[in-house]
């Protein structure tokens, strides 16, 4: 389809504004640009058709099965969008007097309280704008904590080899060095290696639990002991909280700091890649360092408070407020029981899918997975030449979004399935049948699968060309 620039015609107008009814003031020429920006010029019908066409070439949770592991593509309730669009929330300036924004402050304070309860933490900031941003913020808290104790030698952050790439990247941005620890045979943290890695320079261990393989870290108590004994802190990457919320809390597992992803666990939409929100919770000892400002409930109502020891600000204003409104609506609707039930059904759906394909799509044996599981297609690739990527692309032809591919890095030819709790059994049954057929197809017609997708918007794109000679903007011929 055309780019909006390619349907642009000089002189066409779409939205128009009222002509100012005061004297026109011209800005001094010396400040003005030589030419108007070359933005598109389209009529309203062109505009509407263009964006409708783009939306038809997008695939969201509303379009179908979306088992993108680690991303928790659960259903995004419609009521969330409606409440977030209420004028009482959207038409409010962030720098209004506190007395005039009591509703917004109550949203923030209530949500923080709910998240503290769900994670077992003592205090929560909502400010970080995404999961990675939350990691960064959490690590700054850890740095501030050690610095306040004048324990300046704690410069290292331990990260398991199965971790999300953001973990080491965030830790480096927060000024730490990284120590990688391997996984053991059960794909958990190798305790022996961990014991060797910790020391007086250990600032923290970053852990996802359930791990990125979708397995609960059984040795969590031992891990917590090893880290705390060494004087380090335990950081919880909340990417996989959806599996265990209401069942077990990071705070009770021994974690000191946690970040959440409201766009994963709490049903706020992913929006094609953002905005997300990455609140950070922590134990009492770290609370004084939380970003400014925090919201407090007092007898006279809600107010902002600023901490003397705060790490400062990590984002403008108070973070992605509109996302908080959605998350609060979600938790309000689910309540204590619903939160737990969501986790249980996320795990149920994952295990149901796993149980019905694992004879063909091999995964960790003899254990139940949590909300997701990782299969390795290495054996199929050895036998047929069909790779995890080819399976993913064949799924596209059948109208399903593929699972996460080639992550975690420690599994060869990995596919990571996370159906989430909102998926229904009928769809799962269809997907199971489809995946079983696809497996058979790999033996019958591997070449066809290697060229998949055949019925998508495009065939496989040439990524080498895109990266070698980057074309990253439209340029008029």
């Amino acid at each position: 389809m055309n780019l909006i620039f390619e349907i642009s015609e000089h002189g066409k107008r779409c939205a128009t504004i009222r002509t100012p009814d005061v004297k026109a003031v011209k800005t001094d020429k010396k400040y003005l640009r030589a030419e108007k920006p070359a933005l598109p010029e389209v009529s309203e019908v062109d505009f509407s058709r263009h964006y409708t066409a783009l939306s038809r070439r997008a695939f969201g949770v509303d379009n179908g099965f979306y088992p993108l592991g680690s991303c928790t593509m659960k259903y995004n309730p419609k009521i969330n969008e409606e409440v977030a669009a209420l004028p009482g929330f959207t038409r409010v300036h962030p720098l209004q007097d506190e007395k005039t924004v009591q509703g917004s402050l109550e949203v923030m304070e209530t949500l923080s309280g709910y998240l503290a309860e769900i994670t077992g933490m003592d205090a929560v900031t909502l400010q970080p704008n995404a999961g990675a941003h939350g990691e960064y913020t959490g690590l700054l808290l850890i740095a501030a904590y050690h610095a306040a104790r004048r324990d300046f030698k704690r410069t290292k952050v331990i990260v398991p080899d199965s971790a999300h790439g953001t973990n080491p990247a965030s830790a480096v941005m927060a000024g730490f060095e990284i120590i990688n620890v391997p996984s053991d045979e059960e794909k958990g943290v190798d305790l022996k290696a961990l014991k060797k890695a910790v020391g007086r320079d250990t600032a923290a261990l970053m852990l996802t639990n359930p791990t990125t393989l979708g397995l609960f870290e059984k040795n969590i108590k031992e891990i917590s002991e090893i880290i705390h004994k060494a004087g380090g802190l335990l950081y919880y990457d909340g990417a996989n909280l959806n599996a265990v919320m209401g069942v077990v809390r990071p705070g009770d597992m021994g974690f000191d700091v946690v970040h959440l992803n409201l766009h994963k666990t709490f049903s706020t939409p992913h929006g094609g890649g953002g905005p997300g929100s990455g609140p950070v919770g922590c134990k009492k000892a770290l609370a004084p360092f939380l970003p400014d400002p925090r919201v407090e409930k007092t007898e006279k109502g809600y107010k902002f408070v600023y901490g003397k020891k705060s790490i400062g600000k990590v984002a403008s204003f108070y973070g992605n407020f509109g996302v908080y409104v959605r998350a609060l609506a979600y938790i309000t609707a689910l309540g204590a029981e619903g939160i737990k039930s969501a986790a249980q059904h996320a795990v149920l759906n994952a295990n149901y899918l796993k149980a019905n394909i694992e004879d063909l799509y091999p995964t960790e044996k003899g254990r139940h997975c949590m909300h997701e599981f990782v299969v390795s297609m290495q054996e199929l690739k050895d036998k047929t030449g069909v790779s995890a990527m080819d399976i993913a692309k064949t799924m596209i032809d059948r109208g399903y979004h593929p699972p996460t591919m080639y992550f975690p890095l420690i599994i060869h030819e990995a596919l990571m399935f996370e159906p989430t709790e909102t998926e229904n059994k009928r769809t799962l049954d269809e997907v199971i049948a489809a995946l079983r057929e696809i497996y058979e197809e790999a033996f019958k017609d591997p070449e066809y699968m290697k060229a998949a997708p055949h019925h998508a918007q495009i065939g496989r794109p040439d990524e080498v060309k895109a990266a070698r000679q980057p074309v990253v903007r439209y340029i008029k011929n």
């Binding site: 379009n63 593509m73 995004n76 990247a169 927060a174 094609g272 204003f317 039930s341 909102t422």
Partner: protein, 436 residues
């Protein structure tokens, strides 16, 4: 309770049977029993109707003003109907990062178009797919510019306070020094700047217009930065860029800013979207997602996430930045706004802002306030007066008007946009005139 699950009891039972377990609890056997939670201390779940009522009641505890004379980083602009309508299509809202290009061409093309528009607006060669917000864009730019032996950022007291705070947070743990120069006249003092630049200066960051609304002589500042071997980073209001010299024309190496004014509501501070664009030379250091054009094996035009080897999921601890998401949805809204308004519409909005702001400034002068600074301004300006700011703002609030932002006991930062009218401004001025 509404829990959005779709399994009936019968289906749940069938699924448990198929897995070979008796209960949901059995699936959590790996969780140590003594760690398991008895019950969350949260209210009981609510019906959809109750949820709507609760959330609506909360929203009504906020005060919504009809007339808004406050900016300072969040701006009230007219949002075209087609932007609100088309952006609310659920395919856009419920999609994820377009990892699977074959089924995500719509999202990818939308981002490519956004990148192109940001390049048009800023004059830069490359834009990323957006970052969290304007303050974070400035912080990421600061990190981009740092080299082994150049680790100082020079900036000024006339940038947004939030931006400065975020810059300081990001600098602290990376051994970066943030030098903040005073601005007695409101705008950048070129002579003072030149004295501060040195071999350790990695970058100079200014905002255009600056926090006080003044238009900076950006070209001169850029020249000074480059003479010292430093990079020049400009944080610009995107509405102002419809008429002001582009960062490229001013010699900027990196252009950043908050694109909230482009169709996003004030929404108590977010979600907004930071834009980030740079010259070709800096492209490989640019953080965040970037969409590129290529073709598929049949030669059809195709869009993909590209230059991914820069990013954290590949470079891990060696990545320049930990950013992985963008604000795709907000970027989509911003690009819809730019195409709905077009170059002429954007220009008209910018000019309306300028005209109303000057009309407001004149009115307030007539009401006894003084302009604190004397330079040319865009749509914001600072007044001072003997009457306490609080008194003025309180009187306006009573009249249903959100006055400017109090900067100090006697100083107020005002803003005017195209949402105002002569009548609205006259009303506000009249209120101010009566304050004694």
């Amino acid at each position: 309770m509404s829990d959005y699950l779709s399994a009936t009891e019968r289906e749940t039972k069938e699924m448990l049977d198929s897995i070979g377990v008796k209960s949901l609890d059995e699936l959590f056997e790996d969780v140590p029993a003594d760690l398991k939670l008895k019950k969350l201390n949260l209210p009981a779940g609510k019906s959809q109707q109750e949820t709507m009522e609760i959330m609506t009641a909360l929203s009504q505890k906020n005060k919504v003003y009809d007339i808004i004379l406050r900016g300072a980083g969040s701006y009230d602009h007219y949002i075209p109907s087609m932007v609100k309508n088309l952006s609310s299509r659920s395919e856009f809202i419920t999609a994820y990062t377009p990892y699977q290009a074959e089924m995500s061409q719509g999202i990818l093309q939308a981002i490519f178009e956004y990148q192109s528009m940001i390049c048009d607006l800023t004059g830069m060669d490359v834009s990323n797919a957006s970052v969290y917000n304007g303050a974070n864009a400035a912080a990421e730019a600061m990190l981009m510019c740092c080299e082994k032996n150049r680790k100082t950022l020079v900036t000024f007291q006339n940038i947004r306070p939030d931006t400065l705070k975020v810059l300081k947070t990001y600098a602290r743990r990376r051994g970066i020094t943030v030098k903040v120069l005073p601005v007695p006249g409101g705008a950048v003092d070129l002579k003072a700047l030149k004295c501060e630049l040195g071999e350790e200066t990695a970058s100079v960051y200014i905002e255009q217009p600056n926090y006080f609304g003044l238009i900076e002589n950006a070209e001169e500042i850029g020249k000074a930065a480059h003479e010292a071997g430093a990079k020049f980073v400009m944080g610009c209001n995107p509405i102002a860029l419809a008429i002001l010299k582009s960062p490229a024309e001013c010699g900027a190496d990196i252009a950043v800013g908050d694109a909230q004014p482009l169709g996003l509501p004030m929404a108590f501070g977010g979600p907004y979207v930071g834009y980030m664009a740079c010259t070709n030379k800096e492209m490989r250091k640019l953080p965040g997602r970037i969409v590129g054009e290529t073709c598929d094996h049949d030669g059809n035009r195709a869009y993909v996430l590209t230059l991914q080897a820069r990013e954290q999921h590949i470079r891990r601890e060696k990545a320049f930045s930990n950013i992985c998401s963008n604000q795709a949805y907000c970027a989509l809204v911003a690009s819809m706004y730019m195409s709905a308004m077009g170059p002429d519409g954007m220009g008209e909005v910018a000019e309306a802002c300028v005209s109303y702001a000057h009309y407001l400034a004149d009115g307030l002068k007539g009401a006894g306030l003084k302009l604190k600074y004397h330079g040319d301004f865009f749509h914001e300006f600072v007044t001072e007066s003997d009457i306490p700011a609080d008194k003025i703002l309180k009187a306006l609030d009573k009249a249903g008007i959100l006055g400017g932002l109090k900067l100090s006991k006697n100083e107020i930062l005002w803003c005017a946009t195209e949402t105002l009218s002569k009548a609205a401004i006259d009303k506000a001025v009249d209120v101010v005139r009566r304050v004694k």
